[in-house]
């Protein structure tokens, strides 16, 4: 594709311009010189011209009302969505009842035995401790609610994803059709998925499960297709040369060879499902996410933390166990126990607990951390928020950040004429990618204007830009340090591992404790969320630089600084671009969620639409989020994209 991008510029560019990027920019400048004065005279003013907007409020409200009116009568709902909804409710209910019937002892023992079976003794102990901690924090029932929803959503996502992946892996045409869709779905913030589902299913468990499935199925589909396509061609040829039929080839070679990717896909699906299951609290998922949501709504950090810790523990346990299952290639050591044995032990323990009447978590065993945490937060509010000599308080920092960085960036963006914003988007996207990506980016940005949410979108964009800038400065510096020093890397690795597995929602808790509510905390949460991925990609990219090139530089007597600037950074350019891309995508996801803690802008519109039942506002904001995500991804997209993303 990259080589095909030139012909369009071949008409206007003189041959003296050797640099391709310069040629593109010159062409764009010519284009702008013609169109900008015309646009400026037709539609004066910086904001998106009102004449160019299309108000979707009325049709969307009509659609939404139609759905509400017809939900109980129209055949589409009666014979399709109704069944889907009922099936989801029934299966979640069934899993939930089963979990409760197993009691806390049964669930803990089963979890530990499964972990033991697939990942060894240490993770089994970790799993047991995590479950017990959930109980001890008084969150056993919400944990089981979240777990029940997760089990159903993960099974459905894995099934849907595997089927789509199988189709894309076996058919080139389907692969071409599905790949851009899956790629795009993976860069969209979770919040954008909520409203369309709510429109059809209303607020409740079915909507939550389906939103989770839609969000979590793409990685499974992508990795399944990747695994099937990535099989060693010589092995497949050897299998074919022995006269295998298509079916034999698929079952005995392609699927077993893709085992690693399949399990990685499952791992990512589980992590994304957890992330979404927590966020889906705002559309009625219940469980742990709901506790966090309610607590954050009343700025009760203690309660939020009590519900947040089980989420983090669940995330870490699920990630480690599934990752271990993927890494272990049938090692005999971990096969200490068989499945029937594990099930029998679980049943025996659950039965014993039931006979002893200890099915529910004992009330005396809970540890109330909410009160002491709130106490600590109060102390922090009183002592650290502001007025600390020399360094100032956290609220002061947040205030300064807002007035000195966020406000000027937002002001600047809103001061820029709308057409110049489009031009900047085009220039950025084209200089780094192809004319296709540039066109997509410009169209996405223009769509935001047409939807009539230009103002809030620029507000969101200003937060994203500020957060990305901070993330990149911190992340690249840390990444370089980690790449250059083994010790820093060893120290960072466990921290990054934990941070990369935590669901987005959880990051809101500490920032609210530290900075209160507002735009600055949303940006802070976004920075913390995106940082690990940026650090990791940067460090990996620098470490993967051809050692021969580095060695030759060293042999010529290059200093460490020269090696970094002249060898490592230029050769790791692709990874650095990828780090920027991932940073932008991850930051956007959390900035949007920041609407729940006072971030305002598009995220607030979605939350408002959900809370007030004003689906039109919410859907328009959701569509704008999709466009913004698409634009930001295309603007920062290196020509080749990587397959995985931190969940």
């Amino acid at each position: 594709m990259a080589t095909l991008s030139l012909p369009t510029s071949g008409t206007g560019t003189p041959r003296v311009l050797k640099s391709r990027a310069a040629g593109k920019l010159l062409l764009l400048a010519l284009f702008a010189a013609v169109l900008a004065p015309w646009a400026a005279t037709h539609w004066p003013g910086a904001a998106w011209p009102h004449a160019l907007t299309v108000s979707l409020d009325k049709p969307l409200a009509t659609a939404s009302n139609w759905v509400i009116d017809n939900r109980d009568s129209h055949p589409l709902f009666l014979y399709f969505f109704g069944y889907v909804s009922n099936a989801v409710v029934l299966s979640v209910r069934a899993v939930y009842v089963t979990l409760l019937a197993a009691g806390w002892t049964g669930v803990t023992v089963l979890g530990a035995l499964v972990a033991w079976r697939v990942a060894g003794v240490r993770l089994a102990a970790g799993t047991a401790i995590a479950f017990l901690a959930c109980g001890a924090l008084g969150m056993w029932v919400p944990t089981m609610q979240t777990l029940a929803l997760m089990v159903v959503a993960v099974l459905a996502s894995a099934l849907v994803g595997a089927v789509l992946g199988l189709a894309a892996g076996l058919s080139d045409r389907l692969d071409r059709a599905l790949r851009p869709v899956l790629d795009t779905m993976q860069v969209l913030p979770a919040f954008a998925y909520l409203l369309p589902v709510v429109l059809v299913f209303g607020i409740g468990v079915p909507a939550a499960v389906l939103a989770t499935v839609v969000y979590a199925a793409p990685p499974m589909a992508r990795l399944t297709a990747l695994g099937l396509r990535g099989a060693d061609p010589e092995v497949l040829e050897a299998v074919e040369s022995l006269g295998a039929t298509r079916r034999q080839r698929l079952l005995t070679a392609r699927i077993p060879l893709a085992r690693g990717e399949l399990l990685l896909g499952l791992n990512q699906t589980i992590m994304m499902a957890l992330s979404m299951a927590v966020i889906a609290a705002v559309i009625g998922a219940g469980g742990l996410g709901d506790r966090v949501y309610q607590a954050l709504a009343s700025v009760d950090v203690g309660q939020a933390l009590a519900a947040g810790i089980p989420i983090v523990l669940l995330a870490i346990v699920l990630d480690r166990v599934t990752a271990a299952a993927g890494a272990g290639t049938g090692d005999t050591r971990t096969r200490a126990i068989g499945w029937p044995y594990a099930l029998a032990v679980t049943a025996a323990v659950a039965l014993a607990a039931r006979l002893l009447g200890r099915l529910d978590w004992p009330t005396g065993w809970t540890l109330d951390i909410a009160a002491p945490v709130n106490h600590a937060v109060d102390w922090m509010t009183n002592h650290l928020y502001s007025g600390v000599p020399v360094i100032g308080g956290t609220a002061d920092w947040a205030g300064h950040f807002t007035t000195w960085i966020l406000d000027p960036v937002r002001g600047g963006l809103q001061w820029l004429p709308w057409w110049s914003v489009l031009l900047i988007v085009a220039a950025l996207a084209w200089s780094i990618g192809t004319w296709r990506t540039a066109l997509t980016a410009v169209l996405a940005m223009a769509a935001i204007g047409v939807l009539g949410v230009w103002g809030p979108a620029l507000d969101t964009l200003s937060q994203v830009l500020a957060a990305v800038a901070v993330t990149l400065v911190l992340g690249l510096a840390t990444g370089i340090a980690a790449a250059r020093s083994e010790r820093v890397e060893r120290a960072l690795r466990p921290v990054l591992d934990v941070f990369q597995t935590m669901p987005q929602f959880v990051y809101l808790i500490p920032v609210v404790a530290l900075f209160g509510v507002g735009r600055a905390p949303a940006v802070a949460a976004a920075v913390v969320y995106a940082l690990p991925a940026v650090v990791r990609i940067t460090a990996q990219g620098l470490r993967q630089v051809d050692p021969a090139a580095l060695e030759s530089a060293r042999s010529l007597g290059a200093t460490g600084r020269q090696q970094l600037w002249q060898i490592q950074l230029p050769l790791a350019r692709r990874s650095l671009l990828l780090a920027v891309n991932q940073g932008v995508v991850l930051v956007l996801a959390v900035v949007i969620i920041g609407g729940l803690v006072g971030g305002g802008a598009l995220g607030y519109n979605v939350a408002f639409g959900l809370a007030q039942g004003d689906l039109a506002t919410g859907l328009v904001a959701g569509a704008a989020i999709v466009c913004l995500g698409l634009m930001l991804d295309r603007v920062t997209q290196p020509t080749q994209r990587r397959t995985t993303k931190g969940a």
């Binding site: 092995v235 050897a238 299998v239 074919e240 040369s241 022995l242 006269g243 060879l257």
Partner: protein, 397 residues
């Protein structure tokens, strides 16, 4: 399977196992027009690419593979040899030409028939082994039988026999990842042997191996061929390997066969400068036979001097002549065919001989060139086994 045949079985008949004629494989848009168009088909590769965007990997290749012989296709990378061998079982679909196995048209086969061909009649050994990493050695070897639908216990039993035959006893339960390169290729070889195919196809099987391991594996192939007499098509880019293993060699360049003949013909009378350049550094005395080097016997030569067989290499004759201090007689079934003395032998070593017309006949017309092929064991290896020394008559030693 006759495992116990002590000496190398000469090809019993001249009937071809594979018969290939006018074979083309063209990659690119609308490939079928290239072979059909006499103007396009004669273009040089670069011109063809510039004009049509197509690459002809195999260009108008014809040859027969006779039953029981080792047919080597040799060429540098990009010469089309790997494509050629894949065309034989249609792992790559040929563009034009005919391929017949035992007289049956391979290109006309339907899917089921083609599968039968791949399952039972031709098995392939790959450069990078192509093993299934999630299976044990035994199950990898049994894989071909599993594909055929052979029951578990029977295929494991048969696989175990073949595993033992290639010298991997005790490693049945390992996985390919735990084996060395040479061992992995033994598994690949065993997998191909397990289905008891009529023809073994080798696609540069040893080029990914270390030199010493490679020599072991070559000896293994020589041993297997001697024991079983199975027809083999062997692709290689290594001239030494080709000369060591091949009964006949087809030398490829840019998709064409530039010369087809016995190793002796390739080395002794290169068809063009390309082949001459190719074989320049070959130790000729290890390849050329006395039949080629001899002169007609004069009246005074008949009685004295050591006797050598016509298939003995010049190197062996040199040794015999040097020991006896007299010209050697080339004896075939008690008949004296000719004489080699210092002059002829030195000519061969110096490379100044041209083949006599009698020996320069085209290989296709001279089936007797193949039987009893001299054992040109690889030059550095000492001859230890009795079979290797057999062509030399006792009095020569």
């Amino acid at each position: 399977m006759a495992f116990t045949v002590p000496t190398r079985k000469p090809p019993t008949t001249t009937e071809p196992v594979f018969s290939v004629s006018g074979l083309w494989k063209v990659f690119g848009p609308k490939p079928e027009r290239i072979p059909a168009d006499p103007e396009l088909s004669t273009l040089e590769p670069a011109d063809l690419r510039a004009r049509t965007g197509c690459t002809a990997a195999v260009r108008d290749v014809s040859f027969d593979v006779r039953k029981g012989e080792v047919f080597v296709v040799m060429g540098l990378s990009g010469s089309g040899k790997s494509t050629l061998v894949r065309c034989l079982t249609r792992l790559i679909e040929p563009t034009a030409g005919t391929i017949a196995i035992d007289g049956e048209d391979v290109r006309a086969m339907d899917k089921g028939r083609l599968r039968e061909l791949r399952r039972h009649r031709a098995a392939m050994v790959f450069q990078h082994f192509g093993l299934l990493p999630h299976r044990t050695v035994l199950d990898n070897v049994a894989y071909g039988l599993e594909i055929q639908g052979v029951g578990k216990s029977e295929r494991r039993e048969r696989a175990a026999e073949v595993v033992a035959k290639v010298g991997l006893e005790g490693m049945e339960q390992r996985r390919p990842g735990q084996l060395s390169g040479g061992q992995r290729q033994r598994v690949g070889l065993a997998r191909a042997l397990a289905v008891d195919p009529e023809v073994l196809l080798f696609d540069e099987p040893f080029s990914a191996l270390d030199p010493l391991i490679r020599r072991d594996m070559q000896d293994e192939v020589v041993r297997l061929h001697r024991e079983e007499g199975r027809t083999m098509v062997f692709i290689t880019h290594d001239l030494t390997e080709a000369l060591k293993l091949g009964d006949r060699i087809a030398l490829m360049r840019d998709g064409r066969v530039v010369q087809l003949g016995t190793p002796e013909e390739i080395v002794g009378s290169p068809a063009d400068d390309y082949v001459r350049e190719f074989v320049r550094d070959v130790p000729r005395e290890q390849v050329m036979t006395c039949r080629t080097a001899m002169r007609p016997a004069a009246a005074d030569d008949t009685a004295n001097g050591p006797a050598v067989s016509p298939q003995a290499t010049v190197a062996e004759a040199i040794e015999a002549v040097a020991r006896a201090g007299a010209p050697a007689r080339v004896m075939d079934e008690g008949r004296c065919l000719g004489v080699v003395d210092h002059e002829q032998l030195l000519d061969v070593v110096a490379g100044v001989t041209t083949l006599t017309p009698a020996a320069a006949v085209d290989a296709d017309d001279a089936p007797e060139a193949a039987p009893g092929k001299p054992r040109r064991a690889n030059p550095p290896a000492p001859r230890t086994s009795p079979e290797d020394a057999a062509p030399t008559t006792p009095e020569a030693v």
